[in-house]
Symmetry: D2
Subunit: 282 residues, 4 copies
């Protein structure tokens, strides 16, 4: 069994020693260990990946044993079975490029995930879902129906045991209520280099400002729009020759890769959230 | 003689033909020609570099001859002798990295400029100027003395025939009066990826926001702070491991290169300003 | 009608003037003009894109009129109708990532091409072709059958009016005879940063050498393997953490983009070949 | 006291636990820990940085205590006092850009090094050394005098307690004898993206091949020229517009940064050598 620990707590001497000794004492061989101590905030963050040679310990037994240590550290933590894939729901609207990128990586075996369903507020991309034989659910939403439709969506997500939501250019703001149900479990792709061009139509803003580089940002969604912890960012150079439409087109390539990388990092349990920031053990 | 034309006007058929025929008729052989038609704004921009085989035409004669054509097009234009170096004044405060980068490129012959003087509001970098044997003038400035000191600076600049001012991390806002005297002739380096982190201490802002990429921007100075036409931008990846101080240090490398590239483009007459944007024929 | 001229000849004074005057005299309005004079080789290269306001001239009439000028310059040239899409055949073997990338861009309207058929030496990717409703032809090839099968392929290409062949990770060396039929009309993606790691399994070579950056190269195919004119290159950073398989996976993203960019440049008539090098008017 | 351990050995369970427990037991608080297990080679690599709260242990006592553990693991290892700067000798010939870059970073406090001397086979850069008040020694070398002059150089290096040699565009091949005295302690900057363009004048080779990206490589010197373990690489995009001289100029910026980064990594004890490759804990 290959296990992954993600843990954060207040920093103090002996943490690595205690954690690595726990793993050794439970028959584990550490494959990789990443650690970060934020001196300014006096916080400790660690990711450990190890193999358990000892077949008799189940994941739940190891978690139970570890909880004693974790309580002593007053830590936030999780231990994951590396082989157990996260169950991901993709939310889309009308643009297909991010959806197609994720589906391609999913089918090629690059991403350790299952995609039991796709949710949209528009029917446009149903044929893409069909091509890939993934159930596609339309929930049309307006300001009157939002909360009710989100409740329906949540029921569907629960029924499917969804671990993570990916907003693949989903053009509909989620309510705070919904966002709070999935804290650090909704990843969005924003089509600008945040915090530049917050708000509507960032490519138009970029074009009008005359920037020489555009970008995209994948981040966890919080109730403050465009303010969630950033997981990954990417950029592309542009010139005066490029029209607004060219920016949109070039931007699509950045969006695709930045969302895919953010998703990959999360699903391989490489991201810890610390306040409004992320620790990414890439 | 190697000449460079920069011209912009309202777009219409025949402009390239008329301009290139003018050059041919005056004994010129075009070495490079860059042209951009902004369809949205119906504006035409061109840069032509050519050799005059015909020795009897002086630059002033060619300019006089060309002015007829330019008037007909109602164009903004300039013709430059490529061998005639721009005279550049560098403004600094306390940081030396951008100053040293420019001086190194200047002395190695990379930049086609002369640097007759360095101006500062602090004495700190006088020894750098001395090392390079360039006159160093201190004008200490506060809100009461700003306009008067700027007048003194301007007298000095005029006496030295300065074509261009480079703000190499000059930590003092110039008055609108001064800026207007040097329209599109003051280049600043801003230590962020504009328009992100406008205002004070962008590295602190970047650190607090948890971005994964930082940047720098070289731009012409206008009376709207941080809003001038962007010439060049650059970026560098960062991670959670980097402290605020690390961002400052990594940022210095980006600032140096982005300012040097912006300066290089301007001094080789490769930049045209169009409203709040630039056309860069790189 | 929007037309594009690509032309190269020995450099001499007056070329831009003569060409742009020709366009103006035939009712054209130049939209963009890119020109390059290679001083070392005394060669002249130009790309002009213009609109013909004058409806009565057909493309063939303009070509006929222009041929006089071109003969005088002893030029290699072509004039293309921008709206007329190139007809592209894609050759594949077993890897699908480059094929899928091209198909996605083709279907999204990004690439101005038609894809009448896909050719493979293996049946593996027939289902991808089927998904996209594009005829898929298998020509199994060994050293005995190569020349004959290539003849059959060529018949099929001719019957479909193919302008360009894209080798999207086609794992079979083409014969010189075949390559010569399609001079500068076969684009390959090489999975290394040429000329590094010429030959077999470049990712293994890169892994064994311990490089910190990998790359990919799109180039025209010549009878010298891996030596054809380079159109585009791209890179990605790697670290000691990445296994050989990780390099393959990360490399796929570079290959996809570099091939797509090379194809995009060719199909928008932005590439001129000069000996073993390319002039790319991007 | 802030200490840094670099260690490599055959991988086996319990290594992290034993090492981190050792540090804890000796009053240390781990600040950062980077670990890499190479599954293919069954090798273990670790870098740990920690503060010793316990003032009574000297560095030599800690090393002595640790040697027991290290012997048990049959490890290669070193423990360094972070505050103790490496003593670096710079070797140059006629190009000044890499030398100036290092001197600038050294003087600005970026690099934790001392530079007691500069060695050259030409007198050309003596004035740069003088500007920075660093002793400059000329050892002119030809094939007859090489071994003898290298002996003289080595005497001088020993007399100055030199830890590391940096070849900042030193245009003279070192003998195997000399290289073997400084195993993994000579850093060279190669002006190409290795292994492309091994051998003489890589910018000419790059120009002739028509590549679209150039690069530079910093690596440890071994007796196989251009084959030593790579520490860092960087690239820059070029186009057909750039002449050979432009490549040289653009390449200089890449060389400067790639050498400076390689040096920074080494001097902060972030590089472990594993056969012909490096583990870089950046």
């Amino acid at each position: 069994m290959r296990l992954i620990l993600l843990l954060s707590c207040v920093d103090k001497p002996g943490l690595v020693s205690r954690i690595s000794s726990f793993i050794y004492d439970h028959g584990g061989n550490i494959h990789s260990l990443d650690e970060h101590a934020d001196d300014q905030e006096a916080q400790f963050f660690i990711r450990v990946e190890w193999s358990t040679l000892n077949k008799e310990n189940s994941l739940s037994e190891i978690k139970k044993a570890f909880s004693g240590l974790a309580n002593e550290f007053n830590a936030e933590w999780e231990i994951r079975d590396k082989e157990k894939k996260l169950r991901v729901a993709i939310f889309v609207s009308k643009y297909d490029h991010c959806l197609r990128e994720i589906l391609w990586r999913y089918e090629s075996g690059d991403l350790p995930i299952d995609i039991p369903l796709i949710i949209s507020n528009h029917p446009d991309l149903s044929s893409v879902a069909e091509q890939h034989k993934i159930p596609f659910h339309v929930f049309s939403i307006n300001s009157d129906t939002k909360l009710e439709q989100e409740k329906n969506e949540n029921d569907l997500l629960n029924a499917n045991g969804i671990d993570l939501i990916v907003l693949a250019r989903y053009m509909q703001v989620l309510s705070s209520q919904f966002v709070n149900l999935y804290k650090n479990r909704i990843i969005n792709i924003h089509h600008s280099f945040l915090p530049a061009f917050i708000g509507g139509d960032p490519y138009k803003q970029a074009y009008d400002r005359g920037v020489k580089i555009i970008g995209a940002t994948s981040h966890y969604v919080t109730s403050d729009l465009d303010e969630g912890p950033i997981i990954e960012q990417g950029t592309a150079r542009i010139s005066h020759r490029e029209s607004r439409q060219d920016l949109v087109r070039k931007g699509r390539d950045v969006e695709r890769l930045v969302l895919a990388r953010g998703l990959d990092l999360h699903c391989n349990h490489r991201v810890l959230v610390s306040g409004s920031k992320t620790i990414v053990f890439a």
